[in-house]
C-alpha cells in the first residue's frame, strides 16, 4: 500500500501508451518469401536465422556492390500522420565503413538509418549530407529492434534501438506520401562513408502507428518513481521484532 505513488506513476505511463490508436499498415516476417518486395538485390531467404517464425531475409555480398530489398508503398498502406517504421536486424558483417541499414523515401527526400564503423547509429538525409549521429551503438551479431518514429506533430524524427532512444533530430520537411521502404544498402560512399553489407538478417519489418513505440521511461522518471517508492517505504511501520 505504501508503494502507491510508484504504482500510480507506472499505471499512468502504461495508460498513456495504451490509449494510442492501434494501426498496423504493413508487416512482413518473410514467412512467405520475398515476394512482397519490388526489388531484391543480393538478398535471399534464410531458414538458418530468424527473429520470429522460421525465416528471415538475408542480405549479403554476392554479385552487386549494394545489397537491398525495396518496396513501393501502396495507397492502402499509407500513413495519414505520424507513424513508426520498425524492423529487426542482425548485422553480422559489413565492410570497414559505415553502412545503411534501412531507409524511407519521401517525395522531399529520404531518411536513412545507418551504423558507423564504430557501431554508432545515425540518420542520413542525403548521400552527400553529413549524417546525424546518436549516442547508442548497435550491437553486431545479435537481433536488435530498430524503430524510426516520424513525428509530424513534433516535427521530429526519433530513432530507437530496443526501445531506447538513440537520437532525435528535426524532420527536415519530409512530407507524405511515403514512397518506398528500403532494407539494406541504399548508398555507397558519400558524406557518411557508407560501405557494403557482407552479412545481415532482417525480420519482422513493420509500418504502423505510434503504438508500436514502447520507449523505456526516461531516467528522471525512473528516478522519480524510485524516490516516491523510497519515501513511501520510509513511513512503513517496522515489522514487530
Amino acid at each position: 500500500m505504501r508503494l502507491t505513488p510508484f504504482l500510480l506513476s507506472m499505471l499512468l505511463l502504461s495508460t498513456c501508451l495504451a490509449e494510442q490508436q492501434s494501426t498496423l499498415l504493413f508487416h512482413d516476417g518473410f514467412e512467405h518469401g520475398l515476394g512482397g518486395w519490388d526489388e531484391a538485390v543480393d538478398c535471399s531467404l534464410s531458414a538458418a536465422e530468424s527473429y520470429s517464425g522460421n525465416y528471415s531475409a538475408r542480405l549479403g555480398f554476392r554479385r552487386f556492390s549494394v545489397q537491398y530489398l525495396m518496396r513501393r508503398v501502396g495507397a492502402e498502406e499509407q500513413p495519414t500522420g505520424s507513424f513508426v517504421f520498425e524492423f529487426h536486424v542482425k548485422l553480422v558483417r559489413s565492410s570497414m565503413e559505415a553502412v545503411t541499414l534501412a531507409a524511407l523515401v519521401f517525395p522531399t527526400g529520404p531518411v536513412a538509418v545507418a551504423v558507423s564503423k564504430d557501431g554508432r547509429v545515425s540518420l542520413g538525409f542525403g548521400l552527400f549530407e553529413p549524417p546525424v549521429y546518436g549516442g547508442l551503438k548497435l550491437k553486431r551479431g545479435v537481433w536488435v529492434k530498430v524503430q524510426l518514429h516520424i513525428d509530424y506533430e513534433g516535427e521530429r524524427v526519433e530513432l530507437y534501438l530496443d526501445d531506447e532512444k538513440a537520437l532525435e533530430t528535426g524532420l527536415r520537411g519530409r512530407t507524405l506520401p511515403l514512397q518506398e521502404i528500403w532494407i539494406g544498402t541504399i548508398w555507397l560512399g558519400g558524406a557518411g562513408g557508407y560501405g557494403m553489407v557482407m552479412e545481415a538478417y532482417y525480420d519482422d519489418v513493420a509500418l504502423g502507428g505510434e503504438e508500436l513505440l514502447n520507449p523505456k521511461p526516461p531516467i528522471n522518471l525512473i528516478a522519480a518513481a524510485a524516490a516516491s517508492a523510497i519515501i513511501g517505504m520510509e513511513f512503513m511501520p517496522l515489522p514487530p521484532s
Binding site: V41, F64, S65, V66, S95, M96, P110, I186, W187, L188
Partner: protein
C-alpha cells in the same frame, strides 16, 4: 583566345584515354569477423597531352542507380576545351553506363576539377560488385 588555340591544334589529333578500374573482389581474409576490406585498383594510360589525372568514385545511390565521380584533368597543351567521356563497364566488358561533357579551359591553368559528375547505370539492375570506369579525353 580560344579560337587561336584551336587553330594551332587543327592538324594535331590527340586521343587520350585514362583508364581506371575499380573492383570489389570477394574479401579473402577478414581483419575481424565484423570488418572486412573491399579494394580497388587503378591504372592510367596516357597517349597525349590532355588527360584525366584522377578519377575518384565519391558515391553511389542505389535508388537512382547513379555513380558519382570526381574527375581531375590535366591540360598539358593549349586546347580551348577538354571534351571527355566516362563509360562504366562490368568485368565481362559489357558497357553498363556512360555520360559525357567538357571542360572549358582558361589561360595559364593546367588542372581542372569536375565534382559530382554522374553516370547512370542503365545496363545492370544495380552497380556490380566489380566494375571499371574508363575516362576518355578526345581533343581531335
Amino acid at each position: 583566345m580560344a579560337g587561336s588555340r584551336n587553330a594551332g591544334l587543327a592538324a594535331i589529333m590527340l586521343i587520350i584515354a585514362a583508364v581506371f578500374a575499380v573492383a570489389f573482389p570477394a574479401p579473402a581474409e577478414a581483419q575481424t569477423p565484423q570488418e572486412e576490406t573491399v579494394d580497388g585498383t587503378s591504372f592510367l594510360t596516357v597517349t597525349g597531352d590532355v588527360f584525366a589525372t584522377e578519377v575518384t568514385v565519391t558515391g553511389y545511390n542505389a535508388r537512382t542507380n547513379t555513380l558519382h565521380l570526381t574527375l581531375v584533368f590535366y591540360n598539358g597543351t593549349d586546347v580551348a576545351s577538354i571534351p571527355y567521356n566516362v563509360t562504366v563497364y562490368n568485368l565481362s566488358g559489357a558497357k553498363i553506363g556512360s555520360n559525357e561533357s567538357s571542360v572549358t579551359t582558361s589561360a595559364g591553368v593546367s588542372y581542372y576539377t569536375v565534382e559530382n559528375f554522374n553516370v547512370e547505370i542503365t545496363g545492370a539492375e544495380a552497380l556490380p560488385a566489380g566494375y571499371r570506369v574508363v575516362v576518355t579525353v578526345d581533343t581531335s
